[in-house]
Amino acid sequence: MAKYLMLKHYRGAPAAVNDVPMDQWTPNEVSAHMRYMSDFATRLQETGEFVDSQALAAEGTFVRYDGAGNPPVTDGPFLETKDLIAGWMVIDVDSYERAIELAGELSAAPGAGGKPIHEWLEVRPLLAVPPTITE
């Protein structure tokens, strides 16, 4: 039992095989893609492996502390930032192998021409609670 984050990037991941930007798909292809994602989440709910799924807006703001009494400084978005997260799904599975299997399925979501995108998803384990027995 371990939780994994499947991370989808707008930018920063290696190029997908079927690397056509979404705004150049047909409307039906966009709908088919959305349906695939939602069916995938539903299926994970049914297998008891779904934890969370969120999508992020493409633009964000950088914020930092600017000393006592001052309002925080905001800046950006920095267009040169290499990595940009599009969204994520958190799963709770029995093994690392299962996490990889599911990420592979998610990466097969259809894109342009109705063909799988083969996009690169990043799989990251969530840090857990410490086990009771260690020695």
């Binding site: 039992m1 008891g48 492996e49 840090l127 609670v129 410490p130 027995i133 020695e135």
Partner: protein, 382 residues
């Protein structure tokens, strides 16, 4: 309200419904509904006969749902006619079969854990979901799939006790410390199992849990930092839990059927027996790790053995033992860092602690290892 009391009644209530002819899937659902109703209804006052109350409500739920199911209508009506037949008393064997069913080898570990906590442990789906930090809907699905998987399982021969013990060990060891104390629940369920399954490994697991649970108060600082065994305040250890664990272990060992859990418990007992780290009987701990290595192919055993060798014979010997192992093992770098520090190789130790922190699988351990690296680096620079 004493939720532990309600939980302890659940296997019997389920057993009674099963004895009356209800199938496992429907009976378990009915008991869960009765449990949720009990938690609500008993918040002000406990009924005179809590078990009778649960049986009555669960049976009513079962009959209601059976009536709704027209295909089963006739059969369940007949069953409902005589709910108090003499055969309706569950036996110890019914309880044992329930454990076997919920930890059936066809289930994945997470499914077996969830089903055991609900059907044997008497926890609600919501409580289990909160304990394992997943949505309630996800946990509900996990449990109902598990139930479907084992619904038709037959138990003509003795079930797999080892699988049951593995599930209880998982509940104890990976128990998230939320509102529900899963470690305490695991102990309660193992104690209950020991009442119906006379086996030295059941006793061994119970002893192991008690001996580790005894150190609970000393394992974390008030701010949630991990305190390693060597630095724990041993006056905070629960001596009655230790005494009970040791007694259970000794009587199990006398039966001369050593198993993995008894060997692990023996190691825990030797730690518990030492008033200070320095007084620990490390040579005997190494011997127990050697025994354990015969019983388990877990790489953790070999890593921990290297630590014990380091304490018994010296850090160089510990590093030699470690050198024979695969560097990709989890916690390898952490053990190496510790042994190198003991050997006085502080630069290497600092680097390895930082490397181990990067590989840690939980936050408390990562923070602990980062602090160790920071401590050595500060000393080295200062």
């Amino acid at each position: 309200m004493d939720e532990a009391l309600i939980r302890s009644l659940i296997p019997d209530v389920l057993g009674i419904l099963r004895r009356r002819g209800a199938d496992f899937m429907a009976a378990e659902d009915a008991v869960q509904e009765a449990l949720i109703e009990a938690i609500r209804a008993w918040s002000t006052e406990l009924p005179q006969d809590p078990k009778g109350w649960l049986v009555t409500v669960a049976w009513r739920k079962f009959v209601d749902s059976a009536r709704a199911d027209t295909a089963r209508h006739r059969r369940e009506e007949r069953l409902a006619d005589d709910p108090n037949s003499p055969s309706a008393t569950p036996t110890a064997d019914d309880t044992l079969q329930l454990y076997f069913r919920c930890a059936h080898p066809s289930l994945t570990p997470s499914s077996a854990v969830a089903l055991t906590l609900r059907a044997v442990g008497g926890l609600t789906t919501r409580q289990i979901a909160e304990a394992y930090l997943v949505p309630e809907a996800t946990m509900a699905q996990r449990i109902s799939r598990a139930k479907r998987t084992v619904a038709g399982a037959r138990f003509d021969q003795t079930g797999d006790l080892a699988t049951v013990l593995r599930v209880l060990y998982l509940v104890f060891n990976e128990g998230y410390s939320g509102d529900i104390d899963l470690a305490a629940e695991a102990i309660r369920l193992t104690r209950q199992l020991a009442d119906v399954a006379d086996h030295p490994e059941v006793a061994g697991l119970l002893a192991l849990m008690l001996l580790h649970h005894a150190r609970r108060a000393s394992r974390m600082t008030s701010t949630g930092s991990l305190v390693p065994l060597a630095e724990q305040d041993r006056t905070k250890w629960d001596t009655s839990s230790i005494a009970e664990g040791v007694a259970i272990l000794q009587s199990a060992l006398r039966r001369d059927r050593l198993g993995e859990f008894q060997a692990q418990a023996a190691i825990a007992a030797l730690h518990a027996d030492a008033r200070t780290t320095a007084e620990t009987d490390w040579p005997q701990i190494v011997e127990w790790y050697d025994e354990l290595a015969q019983l388990s192919d877990s790489p953790i055993v070999q890593l921990n053995r290297a630590v014990a060798v380091g304490e018994a014979t010296g850090p160089e010997a510990g590093l030699d033992a470690l050198g024979a192992l695969n560097e990709t093992l989890p916690r390898y770098a952490a053990v190496a860092a510790y042994l190198h520090e003991r050997a006085g190789q502080l630069t290497t130790a600092a680097r390895l602690y930082a490397e181990a922190a990067g590989k840690a699988t939980n936050i408390a351990e990562r923070n602990h290892l980062t602090r160790q690296a920071a401590r050595l680096n500060t000393d080295l620079l200062g």
